[in-house]
């Protein structure tokens, strides 16, 4: 493999998964070899229990909840599923869920599978409070709304939802509904404890902020009626059965602490890098930003559409040039999949074919951005030259 293995790689797919932080690797190594089930009673079991509860305290502080509200899961998807279906399972028959049309599939699919409804978004992919109010009014006519789920930051575009305003709308128009905020794409860039303070349920996922894959957290605030989805044990206060992934959870907590500790600096620096990358990428003719100029977005994402170019061959050439990026959504086979987010935003389908996401993180450098621009420009040139 000569041409496909570039000497240096530029990783700009942090939103897909972020590199493991050294603090997390260290914590994992420390506890992966410890023998002890936290549900047991002997000394080694109690040690594992302490590690688990230390991690629980860490997340409670970072997410602004009581330690008892922290439920560890196998990842963001399980936490989202527990939030949506766990609430529906505990709700009166006939109750359903409401979410935006741009949710991650982890929310969207269970909402729709259980007969729920979606509310439309504006051109930037933002749920407008008046539109949510209207959606909840028409939902109320169809039956009781058990849970409303809001994606704090869109994983594809990086756009931020006005979470506080939307929660207020739910409280007014669907007072009986539980509010779930999917903060998976938000934790790196925003103080989730503050932005989700008014929500009942909050999801985060460790591998998005430098923890290991396979660890998620669902915050379940007091008073929320939630039925467990996994019922084969009493772990996590009966809300999630199964022996917890102690080493992974310890690593997740270490990554979360490190992320929160340098968040302010990282956001400022990465924002500058993202803008530099954007300037270079948008200077290529026919490349248009997916978000409008006034859209509120997080620092780490640059989403663009390339006119007249299909993102699939474009990603192939970027990859070959050592630049790891994404079209934002993909299916199990690895093929690029048409994005429901870009569709819901009303992007012209032809333009949407060229959807491309660069996502940055605390380890991204100026050189990464400059190299990515160079490879991107050459790839677009090449595809324009040979393909219609």
């Amino acid at each position: 493999m000569t041409r496909t293995a570039a000497a240096e790689t530029v990783y700009l797919d942090w939103s897909a998964t972020a590199p493991l932080r050294p603090e997390a690797a260290q914590a994992w190594q420390r506890w992966a070899t410890h023998v002890g089930n936290p549900s047991g009673s002997h000394r080694d079991a109690r040690t594992a229990r302490r590690v688990l509860d230390d991690a629980r305290d860490t997340f409670a502080e970072l997410l602004g909840c009581d330690p008892g509200a922290v439920v560890f899961t196998s990842g963001g998807t399980e936490a989202d599923d527990l939030a949506v279906q766990g609430v529906l399972d505990a709700a009166a028959p006939g109750a359903f869920a409401v979410c935006s049309a741009v949710e991650h599939h982890a929310v969207l699919d269970p909402v729709l599978a259980r007969g729920g409804m979606t509310v439309p978004v504006d051109r930037d992919g933002v749920v407008r409070p008046d539109v949510l109010a209207e959606g909840l009014r028409s939902a109320a006519a169809a039956g009781p709304v058990a849970v409303v789920s809001i994606l704090a930051v869109n994983n594809e575009t990086g756009v931020r939802q006005p979470v506080e305003d939307l929660v207020a709308v739910v409280r007014e128009h669907a007072p009986g509904a539980v509010v779930h905020v999917d903060a998976v794409a938000a934790f790196c860039w925003t103080d989730v404890a503050r932005t989700t303070a008014s929500a009942d349920l909050v999801t985060v996922s460790a591998h998005k902020f430098g923890g290991p894959q396979g660890v998620g957290v669902l915050v379940v605030r007091d008073g929320v009626r939630l039925a467990a989805r996994l019922v084969g044990g009493t772990q996590e206060r009966g809300r999630r059965a199964g022996t917890p992934n102690v080493a992974g959870i310890a690593a997740a907590a270490a990554a979360a602490s490190a992320t929160a500790a340098d968040r302010t600096d990282t956001v400022a620096r990465v924002e500058g890098l993202r803008d530099r990358l954007a300037a270079g990428v948008l200077a290529v003719p026919g490349v248009v930003p997916t978000l409008g100029p006034t859209a509120e977005r997080v620092a780490g994402t640059l989403h663009v559409c390339v006119r007249g170019v299909d993102s699939e061959p474009l990603l192939f050439l970027l990859d070959e040039g050592g630049v790891r990026a994404s079209a934002g959504s993909s299916c199990q086979s690895g093929a690029r999949r048409r994005s429901h987010v870009v569709d819901a935003m009303g992007v012209d389908p032809d333009l949407g074919r060229g959807a491309l996401r660069f996502s940055l993180g605390h380890g991204t450098t100026t050189a990464d951005c400059d190299r990515a621009v160079e490879v991107f420009a050459a790839a677009v040139d090449r595809l324009r030259e040979v393909a219609p």
């Binding site: 000569t2 041409r3 192939f316 086979s333 690895g334 093929a335 090449r382 040979v386």
Partner: protein, 350 residues
């Protein structure tokens, strides 16, 4: 040479990738995602993508998945349904080759800087003394796929490689086994990849078009039976019509979807002198009027002799001996009478 190998997840394309890599070529495997429907089988299921990926891993080459589902829907599935509505008998694999594998994929490979595209088809690229190229039959007569590749010409053939075309199927499987490829004993794919085995064509079409019952009449117009779905009846069909008594053993000689009528007749009623080719494609230009050609009308059908007849605005083939009428929509492929393994071209029976 830098080659993009279309890997379906079957043994033939697995070995094609292996042989090219073994011979020192720079190989990248790609599996086409063609169909997102419920039929998780055939050439585009997740299980087959897994097989292709793991074979690529085993060989030590890169593997990608390209999503051509939209083009597949437009150029293969939609025409497949429309053909049934019109009473034709389509061959979707040929349309997939024509519009997806050897159009889109070849163009994309060129755009991505590949010198050639390889597939696991049992066929050969024949280079003629004058340098022009034609599709040739694969070495293994039982597996020959030149029929489904008859539309390949000129610039596409310049960029195509069929690494298993000069090997028998047994040989291919032996190579796969020796190389430790997990697809070595995988059964050959059958039938249409986007149609599930359990529901079949009836369920697939029934979800897309209203299937209409029809009466079956004999050549004198006497009603002899009925079918539940006229769109599923194929010209030349004999079985599955539920005919009894004197009508049993009759062949379908006409299908009138709009009039909801199927006409059956004795074997001799199916015979015709000529077949007209729709949208013909030729490797080196149309054969001359009166040229003698060898004609094949199904994937592994027997070959019959015909002479080319140029009609105003159409090309037809006049059979030396009357032949059963080819169902409209089926491909009619001509081979060179002087070089019986070489494809001259072909078209779709009108």
């Amino acid at each position: 040479m830098r080659v993009l190998v279309a890997m379906s997840g079957g043994v033939d394309s697995s070995v094609a990738a292996h042989l090219l890599h073994r011979d020192g070529h720079e190989v990248v495997g790609v599996t086409l995602r063609l169909w997102g429907g419920p039929a998780d089988r055939g050439c585009c299921s997740v299980a087959d993508v897994d097989d292709a990926r793991r074979v690529a891993d085993r060989i030590g080459v890169d593997h990608h998945v390209f999503d051509f589902a939209e083009a597949f829907e437009t150029h293969v599935v939609a025409p497949y349904v429309a053909d049934h509505v019109a009473g034709r008998t389509p061959n979707p694999c040929i349309e997939c080759n024509r519009h997806v594998k050897f159009d889109l994929l070849v163009a994309r490979a060129a755009a991505l800087g590949f010198d050639a595209v390889a597939t696991g088809h049992h066929a050969r690229v024949v280079v003629r003394p004058d340098g022009t190229r034609r599709v040739g039959r694969g070495l293994d007569p039982a597996k020959d796929q030149s029929y489904v590749l008859h539309m390949l010409t000129g610039h596409v053939l310049d960029r195509l490689v069929f690494p298993v075309g000069d090997r028998t199927k047994a040989d291919v499987r032996a190579i796969a086994a020796a190389a430790g490829l997990r697809t070595a004993a995988k059964p050959d794919s059958q039938d249409v990849c986007f149609i599930a085995g359990d529901g079949g064509r009836r369920t697939f079409l029934g979800e897309r078009i209203p299937l209409r019952p029809a009466r079956i009449v004999d050549l004198d117009g006497v009603e002899v039976g009925s079918v539940e779905a006229v769109q599923l009846v194929t010209l030349g069909q004999r079985r599955g019509l539920g005919l009894a008594g004197a009508a049993a053993g009759r062949y379908v000689v006409d299908v009138d979807v709009a009039g909801a009528t199927v006409v059956v007749g004795p074997p001799e009623a199916t015979l015709v002198r000529e077949v007209v080719l729709g949208d013909p494609v030729w490797a080196d230009g149309p054969p001359a009027d009166g040229e003698r050609v060898l004609v094949q009308c199904s994937a592994h059908g027997r070959v019959a002799v015909a002479r080319v007849a140029h009609h105003p605005g159409a090309v037809a083939l006049r059979w030396e001996e009357p032949q059963r009428r080819v169902a409209p929509g089926q491909s009619v492929v001509c081979y060179d009478a002087d070089a019986p393994d070489e494809v001259l071209g072909g078209g779709t029976a009108r």
